[in-house]
């Protein structure tokens, strides 16, 4: 392991992160808020730490696979660490674990909060809390790959360790160009959403912060009642569309923006994802119409918002689904596991893995009937390599294993079985609001510190897709 290049790259991440604190500072100055000094101090500490790391650990060594994993994991851990500075200096949280939970929840685009009263905090703090989601959505490491001059193959290692999905696509021969394009597409769609929200009547601050919650499928809002606070069907429709968009592979968006609309319809994962969302909306709407709401449109309105919000792992709330009937709740719980598409900003297991797991399961059954059959798994006419299949089955097993283990921990800390399981599913899948005690109208503040640490770990594992983080735990990784 080459420590120098790892620390050097983390230095770069922190430097750019520090610069990005300027945006909330602008709001602090604009609203003449007390927290200006807190932000200035945060900028200085973060950028200077970044510069020092860069200076003292300058290295021209290439980034190998090991370094890639280490940079991603420690980069995220330290980014969340420095991300707490504005919260701590402004006194938003009294203890570090709460601040770290909130920052990690933001960066990993989970949207699980420990803030009991969101409104009433300074604008700058709310802006920062929402902005870190946007940075984490497309990825701080992808951003560094896009900005830093020629990382070469090392860039690919970094890219792979952060971009979700079993086998990330390249849009352009060079990874730097690919990273740039992905961020560009991300920025374009983000700007579009801000424009839509702003012109349909939201204030610029609210439009920006809600975009920060939607595009990275985060879920933080500056309102106590989340998107439900507006009770505005137009806002909800816009947000549904953009949440759904954010759950789609961004390479597909690039192709569509390039005029290749066909690639969207041809993409199996996109079709599956749309199907899952559509069927869930129909099922939940039906049940809600039957047992809760009197009008079909009200049922459709809340069902579609909640289904898209959970399926994309955003976690915005317009209705208290804790009081919905059991079937709807279990649909939402299952959606927390499926998540968005590979290469999207959505979390959880991802549709592509579910498709391939289903195909693999079918193949095993098929092989019992025809033991000698040669049966490659195909997706959209292309054979998927056994390597990828193995990777995915391993991933699925680890996902379930972590889910089970952490659920045990949470219930040992005193949570009831539903709250324990749902809180782990919602953090591991980067969703946010869970069911039960950590449900849509509650928050995570009541959970004991040890539980918060467990969930922080879940969020990181979920965002970096398990392997990147867990590989660091294996002793083999550290051997020379």
């Amino acid at each position: 392991m080459k420590y120098k290049i790892v620390l050097n790259t983390i230095g770069n991440i922190l430097f750019f992160l520090g610069l990005s604190i300027i945006f909330p500072l602008i709001y602090a100055i604009y609203y003449q808020e007390q927290v200006i000094n807190a932000f200035i101090l945060s900028i200085i500490i973060t950028t200077v730490s970044g510069l020092l790391l860069r200076k003292f650990f300058s290295s021209k060594e290439p980034i190998g696979p090991k370094e890639g994993f280490a940079i991603a994991t420690f980069g995220w851990i330290s980014a969340a660490g420095f991300g707490t500075l504005p919260f701590l200096f402004a006194g938003t949280f009294s203890n570090f674990i709460d601040a770290y939970f909130e920052a990690m929840s933001g960066f990993t685009t989970t949207g699980a909060t420990v803030l009991t009263a969101i409104e009433g905090n300074p604008h700058a703090i709310l802006f920062w809390r929402d902005q870190i989601q946007w940075l984490g959505g497309m990825g701080i490491i992808v951003l560094v790959v896009a900005i830093l001059p020629a990382l070469g193959v090392g860039g690919m290692q970094l890219f792979k360790s952060e971009v979700p999905g079993p086998d990330p696509d390249k849009l352009k021969p060079r990874i730097k160009e690919t990273a740039k394009l992905l961020w560009l597409v991300y920025i374009i769609i983000s700007a579009l959403e801000v424009a839509c929200l702003y012109f349909s009547g939201m204030s610029l601050f609210d439009a920006l912060t809600h975009m920060f919650g939607t595009m990275p499928t985060g879920g933080f809002t500056p309102r106590n009642l989340s998107v439900g606070a507006y009770n505005n069907p137009i806002f909800e429709t816009i947000i549904i569309i953009f949440m759904f968009t954010a759950g789609v592979n961004f390479t597909l968006h690039y192709k569509v923006l390039h005029g290749n609309v066909k690639s969207l319809i041809k993409n199996r994962e996109f079709l599956f994802y749309s199907g899952v969302v559509l069927i869930s909306i129909i099922a939940v709407t039906t049940e809600l119409r039957l047992y809760i709401y009197n009008s079909f449109f009200t049922a459709l309105r809340y069902a579609s918002f909640q289904v898209v919000s959970i399926a994309t792992t955003t976690g915005f709330v317009t209705a208290d689904y804790n009081i919905w009937p059991a079937f709807s709740k279990s649909v939402l719980l299952i959606l927390m596991f499926i998540g968005g598409c590979a290469g999207s900003t959505g979390g959880a297991i991802k549709n592509i893995r579910i498709i391939l797991l289903l195909k693999q399961a079918y193949r095993e059954l098929y092989k019992l009937v025809h033991p000698q059959a040669v049966t490659p798994i195909r997706l959209g006419g292309k054979t998927v390599s056994e390597e990828v299949i193995r990777n995915i089955t391993g991933f699925f097993f680890l996902y379930v294993l972590i889910f089970v283990t952490c659920t045990f921990i949470m219930s040992a800390l005193g949570l009831d079985i539903l709250s324990a399981a749902a809180s782990v599913a919602a953090t591991l899948g980067n969703v946010g609001p869970a069911l039960g005690l950590a449900g849509p109208t509650h928050n995570y503040a009541f959970i004991p510190d040890l539980g918060k640490i467990t969930l922080i770990f879940c969020m990181l594992l979920g965002r970096l897709e398990i392997y990147t983080v867990l590989i660091l735990v294996i002793p083999e990784f550290w051997k020379k």
Binding site: G152, M156, R174, E177
Partner: protein, 448 residues
């Protein structure tokens, strides 16, 4: 530039590596999924699995926008068809590797029908290298021509016989037509100043005006070698071509091949060469065929290990110049240490030749040294270049590069700080890979 490379074997890989590090957009098409994966994981290029002679695969690779296609699969016909398709799509530059010598003589087919701009035959290119090395009176590990052969670069080993061991470069009293541009010591390549010291085991890269090699023999401390008899081990295509080329120039050639049937075929092609059917790894055979009086020994069987060991044996038995063909690049760094005079690697030779063609234009010629750690570039000086019309000492060249020679109106100048480059001159620059971009910027004169 957008460049499609078909085939990610050793040659394709080396080319992809060099071109991607120079900020070209490289797309590699490879039919083997495992090889594709390894390329994907180690190079910053786009990889596509598929057959390079398939129109769909090529379209997926973006052949419509491609500026160049380099077809270097192991199958000649695939390379030819790929270039043909590229011609249909109007790709400006098409390069193909062709191993079958039968094809190479069919020039009109290649250039006009298939539209291939540059055909490289690894065997013939390697043969030329071998013959060049053998014919030079200096016992060099490598010889490269620049400026249409007016300037040559030699790689010389410093052995015990050299009078210059442990002396500084400035102590050498060379006449002006010689410059030590680099010293290769172990893994490192050093660009020496006058203070640079030579130690035993170094390899020196020396630029010299053509035919002025008397000085070079002073450095090695050896007598000039005049090759009259050459023994070739292995009836491979390179062996046959070498025998053909050498015997055409009046050199006595013997070729040893173990396979009887092969021998019979070779005899048909080589009327002026003595063909011996026997096991060349057998010391008795070598001795009975007079290894001690042969001047040159060339080992070009299909087995690297045989080539190396027998070449060493030949050197030990008294052959003056031994050359071994080695296919595995990994071996090369240690080989020259153990006593083989020169090593040829068909793949590096091919990659080098293709890269030279790819960058042709302002760059006239280029050679990769030490697996691409350093390059020698020949440049036609442009009027816009930053280095024109001022003394070289003010030119601000990067620290790991050196101007080795200037060819001004057919006159070769080995430059000093006060020399000036004028537009139209050919400049030969030695540079480490890390400084290539800086050098390009200085010579190009334009901002990128």
């Amino acid at each position: 530039m957008k460049i499609i490379i078909i085939g990610a074997g050793k040659v394709g890989y080396q080319i992809a590596k060099t071109l991607s590090s120079e900020n070209h957009d490289v797309i590699v098409i490879e039919k083997d999924e495992l090889i594709r994966q390894s390329v994907k994981n180690s190079l910053d290029v786009l990889t596509i699995v598929g057959n390079g002679a398939n129109v769909r695969t090529l379209e997926e690779a973006g052949i419509r926008q491609a500026d160049m296609i380099i077809a270097v699969t192991s199958i000649d016909e695939v390379n030819m068809i790929a270039c043909m398709i590229a011609k249909q799509f109007g790709v400006p530059k098409k390069i193909a590797r062709s191993r079958n010598p039968e094809y190479i003589y069919n020039n009109t087919l290649f250039r006009e029908q298939l539209g291939i701009d540059f055909i490289i035959n690894p065997e013939i290119a390697t043969t030329k290298e071998i013959v060049n090395l053998l014919k030079s009176p200096v016992n060099a590990a490598q010889i490269q021509d620049f400026a249409e052969g007016r300037v040559q670069m030699f790689e010389l080993k410093v052995e015990e016989s050299s009078p210059f061991v442990n002396k500084q470069l400035k102590d050498f009293n060379f006449k002006h037509h010689l410059l030590v541009v680099a010293i290769c010591r172990g893994d490192k390549i050093i660009i020496p100043g006058g203070e640079g010291k030579i130690i035993l085991g170094d390899n020196l890269y020396i630029l010299v005006e053509k035919d002025r090699f008397s000085e070079l023999n002073k450095i090695t401390g050896k007598k000039p070698v005049n090759i009259q008899n050459v023994m070739i081990l292995g009836g491979s295509e390179i062996g046959i071509q070498s025998a053909l080329m050498l015997s055409k120039q009046g050199i006595n050639t013997k070729l040893i091949e173990v396979d009887k049937e092969k021998c019979e075929k070779i005899v048909e092609r080589l009327p002026h060469t003595l063909i011996i059917n026997g096991d060349g790894t057998n010391i008795d055979l070598l001795q009975s065929e007079g290894i001690e009086i042969t001047d040159g020994f060339v080992a070009v069987t299909g087995y690297d290990e045989d080539n190396l060991l027998v070449a060493l044996l030949a050197k030990h038995l008294g052959s003056k110049k031994v050359i071994a063909k080695v296919s595995r690049v990994d071996y090369i760094p240690i080989l020259e240490k153990i006593g083989v005079d020169a090593v040829v690697n068909p793949r590096m030779t091919t990659a080098s030749a293709i890269l030279r063609f790819v960058r042709r234009g302002k760059i006239i010629s280029l050679t990769l040294l030490k697996e691409g750690k350093a390059e020698v570039i020949e440049w036609a000086a442009q009027p816009a270049s930053k280095i024109i019309n001022k003394p070289l000492k003010n030119a601000n060249l990067p620290k790991n590069s050196i101007i080795g020679a200037i060819v001004h109106q057919n006159r070769v100048i080995i430059p000093h700080g006060n020399d000036i480059i004028q537009p139209g001159d050919k400049v030969i620059i030695f540079t480490l890979a890390s400084d290539i971009k800086k050098v390009e910027r200085i010579f190009d004169g334009r901002k990128r």
